[in-house]
Amino acid sequence: MNKTVTINISGVIFHIEEDAFDKLSKYLGTIKSYFKDSDGRDEIMGDIEARIAELLKEKVSDHKQVVLMTDVDHVISVMGKPEDYASETETAQEKKETKEEENAEPGSKKRRRVFRDPDDKVLGGVCSGISNYFDIDPLWLRLSLIIFTLLGGAGIIIYIILWIVIPKAKTTAEKLEMKGEKVNVNSIKKSVEEEMEHFKKKGKDFEQEAKNVASPENRQKIRSGTDKFLDFLASVGTSFIKVFAKIFAVVIIIVGVSLSIALLTSVFGVSNFGWSNANEWMSVFFEDNSQFDLAIIALLLIVGIPFMMLVYGGFRMLLGIQVKNRMIQVISSSLWFIGLILGLYITVDVVTEFTEEGSTREVITLSTKSDTLYLRGTEVPEEVFEDTRLRRHIHRSSNNSNWQFVNMDEKTLRFGYPDISLERSQNDSFHVEIIRYSYGTDKKTALNLARSIRYPQPVITDSIVEFTGVAEFDVTQKWRGQDVKIIIRVPKGRSVFLSKSLKPYLYDVDNVHDVYDGDMLNRAWIMTDEGLNCGTCEGLDLNSKEVHIDQDEIHIRDEDKEIHIEKKDSPSAPSGNKPSVEMNDLNDQEFSLGLPLLRSLIKG
């Protein structure tokens, strides 16, 4: 007595002895592994299984219903041992490879590729190689390259990158490919048509398969139908990706080249666009020339190499160059790391220049008996500023101040608009404090730098004080965050009038009403216990809201409304277990707020 298994081969049911089943399934598994890499594996396996079903069917009858080991042996002897498949698939794979090669280069003539032409070269044969590709005279390329070089140096970069990217035509085959089938509108059209034809064929195949699938037949066909569909999708997808990759490559090249040009022009100051002579400005920043030079090299390496690699990669993608150039990878990445280390070293070096702060304080006591002090400032005319927006932005926001770069010559750097702040005086007189400060490697250096800032005393005529907008220091002292601040001390009960000309001097001046600096101008402000209060408040929007939030309560108050919410177990709450919500209308007017929402929020 033997145990049998019921199996389904190609839609036919067989009863098969267990050991025979093991052998058969092992056999099929081995064959399948041989076809692993061939296309149409499922189809081949389907055909083989169908044939096996046919062979087994011959072996069973009403008298002998079970498939035996001998039957399986018979099947294997007819279909062939696994070894027979091995030699078959080996050659099948070779076939497949040659087929792919043919697909890559259809037509009798090879498709043209870009190489550097070693037979007609001035430097590296780049121009002649490209002109071979486009069928133009290399003279024009060489001329335009020279023009680009003269115009900004971009020509040299492009040439060097192309030299690296484009391989040299070494073998005769490569030289032939270099002058292969013309690349023109016709050949492009032809290749597009070939692609389209391929699509159509795929589409038709798929349609055919779909029809077959639609008729109720067995499952192999459905399987091969979906295969076809996937094939079709894959080929459409690949073409899209290819086209997209080319466009992407062009974009990458354009971006890379423009970034490289921008970098070079900004570093060497050879262009007249926007912000030029960055190095003049940088020389005020760096300790000495060698530090500056190193910084430039570091910048070029850290930023420039990725740009170059962008262009390099773009050209490789565009020209479809497969060969990897390990030299370039190694050289570029090690140069980049050298740049990084250099950059870090210089950063540390420069940062130490800013570690200590030093300041000097100059106090002027005013003798005026007037109740109001009038403050004015000279405005720096726009034309005095060097027209470099970038410079003005460099430190404008860095220090929470009005710091602005004004201009610079060989000896002096001028900067503008000291901060003016208003504070309460400890006695009955007005005081003006001028604070100069700077950073440096140590306290002493910082103090010396602060001392040598030249900023004239304000012009005082009775109750009018007029400030100058520009301070300066010697270029030789370098820029180390020098700045000037002015504190006006106002006695309680007396006031200051801020004239309009003071606008650029103010930065976030404290006052009782939290009015913006701009709104503080052209008004008198009285010093009170709480701070500055507006003496003439007409036209000021004082509807500022008072909001107070802490762990136990939320308190919102403006001119005429008040909302007060307290936490459940807050000690000050009236009932210990409920949160309290209190709303008061300070003007006895109707006042509504989304109360249900608020309650639900608190309960939640």
Partner: protein, 125 residues
Amino acid sequence: MNIENTKAQMRKGVLEFCILSILSDGDAYPTEIIERMKVAKLVVVEGTLYPLLTRLKNLGLLSYRWEESTSGPPRKYYRLTELGIQFLKELEQTWDELVTSVNQATEKKKTNGAMSAGAASEPDN
């Protein structure tokens, strides 16, 4: 590259030619094809035929239709396509040329090896 591989490759090229020739006599399903090839002692085992048929079909040289069978699952009946017929014609021509030249080449070697020295010098002229 071993001798078995060379043999297999040689046989393979001929096999494709034979399959196309057999199908030019009329549609057939794999077992019929194999029967005729077994008679000609070209194929020993059946299994190796299926990948060949699939490839020829994928190349567009063959097409197939399904036919119900009394003894098992439905059968694939293969037939030559237009391209297949054309391809076969070319193969027939190449085969004839090949047979002639192979015969000539191998016979020359067998009969007069001495002549080869004289033949080799000829291209120099």
